[in-house]
Amino acid sequence: MELCPSVKNILLLDSEGKRIAVKYYSDDWPTNSAKEAFEKAVFTKTQKTNARTEAEITMFDNYVVVYKFVQDLHFFVTGGENENEIILATVLQGFFDAVGNLLRGTVDKKEALENLDLILLCLDEIVDGGIVLETDANVITGKVASHSIDAGAPLSEQTISQALATAREHFTRSLLK
């Protein structure tokens, strides 16, 4: 058994199974077509289920997949067949809630694509090379949303609009917490 809990991939697909953002941490799918095949299979398998209130789960090709849907967004987290299901569900919940925070309540495909940079950063903060980095949605949100100027930079280098932006970010962050 793999001793350290590990995540094989995290997927964010739309309501037709197309990619919005995906991240693979394992060599199990060496090519893009292998990845697409996996996504298609996972999507078709879970499409008809209702995973809107609670995260759902399924076994698939010796993988455990936990998933949750909102609007036209489908969130998936995949682990090996012996992985602790609840750890995977915790990662999924962290990702799901963090995206919810970052998109400020309007969680749908359009909003997700418009803020794709935030979603990519979010993926980057959750898992590193398969190892869980952080599962607390608020912490993840905080790390992603700290869109301010380098604190070390002299104040004079900041433009008015940047200063305003910084202030706004600080404000939203404190609201989110």
Partner: protein, 869 residues
Amino acid sequence: MAQPLVKKDDDRDDEADYSPFLGIEKGAVLQEARVFNDPQLDPRRCSQVITKLLYLLNQGETFTKVEATEVFFSVTKLFQSRDIGLRRMVYVMIKELSPSADEVIIVTSSLMKDMTSKTDMYRANAIRVLCRITDGTLLTQIERYLKQAIVDKNPVVASAALVSGIHLLQTNPEIVKRWSNEVQEAVQSRAALVQFHALALLHQIRQNDRLAVNKLVTSLTRGSVRSPLAQCLLIRYTSQVIRESANNTQTGDRPFYDFLEGCLRHKAEMVIFEAARAITELNGVTSRELTPAITVLQLFLSSSKPVLRFAAVRTLNKVAMTHPMAVTNCNIDMESLISDQNRSIATLAITTLLKTGNESSVDRLMKQITNFMSDIADEFKIVVVEAIRSLCLKFPLKHRSLMNFLSNILREEGGFEYKKAIVDSIVILIRDIPEAKESGLLHLCEFIEDCEFTYLSTQILHFLGIEGPKTSDPSKYIRYIYNRVHLENATVRAGAVSTLAKFGAMVDALKPRIFVLLRRCLFDNDDEVRDRATLYLNTLGGDGAVVETGEDVKEFLFGSLDIPLVNLENSLKNYELSEESFDIDSVPKEVKTQPLAEKKAPGKKPTGLSAPPTGPPSTVDAYERLLSSIPEFANFGKLFKSSAPVELTEAETEYAVNVVKHIFDGHVVFQFNCTNTIPEQLLENVTVIVDASEAEEFAEVATKPLRSLPYDSPGQTFVAFEKPEGVSAVGKFSNMLRFIVKEVDPSTGEAEEDGVEDEYQLEDLEVVAADYMLKVGVSNFRNAWESMGADCERVDEYGLGPRDSLAEAVNAVINLLGMQPCEVSIQCLFFFGIYAVDMDMHFTFTFLTALHWTVKYHVVNCFFTAIPV
């Protein structure tokens, strides 16, 4: 066609459903990336372009080498900007581009500057990026900062360094191992995730040192680990320690069990579950130990969260395989899960119930399952069918209702895999439950009347040919079989002809009627069907006379091919057209054991069916060629068997030696594979001095020394012994490696003139009975067994000692006797091997009952001149 119309609709949809990446194109984005080079950087715009590039990569677009390099160089310009958001995107972009070693140098200084920055976010991310793209040489330069970062007071920085350490341990273990002091300090961190990452790294650093792991677990299980994830890790390490120490402490309480049990009361569900699962997986777990774990899992069964229900039912399902009684308490909760929305959960619940159910509850359960079957997918149905099969084998008295169930679902709609699972199950039930035979065969007959799968039809026809003639009234099957000759495709027709012929050969009374039918087949429009009919008519004496079919004719027509098809295929490929005809006896009979991993996960890795069988290209052939090229061994005759290599040295010693035992009729040759692992040494005149004083029947006849053994290039030396011909002599040999060692100048690679003679003690080696046993696969064990006759059978009993599982007992028998496991039935295992004694053929069967762990072996001693060794 309708295609353009649909397309238009799609476009309109997309307009409504606006995407910022609509109509995005790689070339245009690469053009846009030029803004990275602007003297006055616009962070917002640059961020957008990076997002577009990442979007393209994410959608599966690839950059050419030139494009990637260009993008990489311009991205490095963005380090000038102080915008944190942009910097974060730059970090992600660099990781995605995974630059080559010569490109890495460009960003190294920028990243090293960020690593020592005052901004925590810079430090954390720069560490992650740098460790991802760096190689060993750079690592020594930044090691100091990484050590500092591990104990950084900001948890994000510490975690970044620790996780990077875990990744780097794979490539640069010697460097990461130097950080253990810092890592140990981080284990005590107040931040939950730092503790988790530190524990994971510390364990990986020490994983080969069993004592250190033991100490780590002992100290941490006493203290309190704060993070649930770290606690899960600790549970995994603890079960590993328990597993490894199990052999030493058979008596008394299991060490650390109290810790696991305590974790069942943890507040985090992931920890509770991890602990419960760890307890259920303990070796030889007692029911007293199981109870608390089952209790928490039972609570999970009625949770509102599907994930918890799934996790619990999956674990209980596994427990039910070995301890069905322990799970019966959960049966009521399980039954309510049959109607669970999540069909995976429902299927697991059903199959668990099938395993734990008793004879009286079978009928009630079957009623519930019948309703359930109609609304689940094929893959779940297959699981249920398999569970029903094992239930039927467990309660043979219930075969009527279970067989009826199987035949009912066989008639319903379903894909090939599902139908195959049902047919396989019926076949197994027919074989193992004699009372179920007639009804099962009729169910199969009815099925082929309306079967769309050629493969299944031919399989069933073949099976009917074997079992049908042995029934009380074979004639009633003929109609079903002959119908196939009329209504099916050529493959099935040919199969039906063979089956008819089998009935004719086995049941003399049916012969005249069969011949009439076969003669009709002579006018079939397919070659194969006509050929088969002609062959059978001629060999079985279809000229009208009712004669008893000779044994040799039966053997020729219906006897099993006792050669693995892979080997036959290889031999035929190697066969060159010449005067000599192909000799089937020259095909090796040894079954090549496939790597275990491949068997375990079929289809998981895309190995491809057309790929040639992996593994060393026919080791037997290779050995044979090697040995016959050595003149001293040329007259030993044909190689019977070569053993797998046996290590004679510990891992990581100066010289690594393993031995392969080659068995000939009157000789044994030891092939010592030696590897010199010291770069500063050259070994010459390498021999192995074998002391056979404890192996009386062996006499040394030849040695072939190895002239020179340079660093890291393996070589072989041989020692040959004579043994009495046709006797499976066994014995123990002690070995000494003797050689002349010469110092090598590492800078020039030249060896010194003079050498010193030296010796190196190797471990003992044994020749055992298994070395004389050739693994042979038989397609149908029972047929082969029955064809032996009872007069040449010995029965004896040997204890195997206590074994934890069936699998372990099987391994023990394989190791002891070197035979090939052929079939696993309810409680029996059948092995098959060819034993080389005096060049007579002895077929040896081993029969193993799982209940008492004793071996009964039947030695069938028959003389087969036709099969040379």
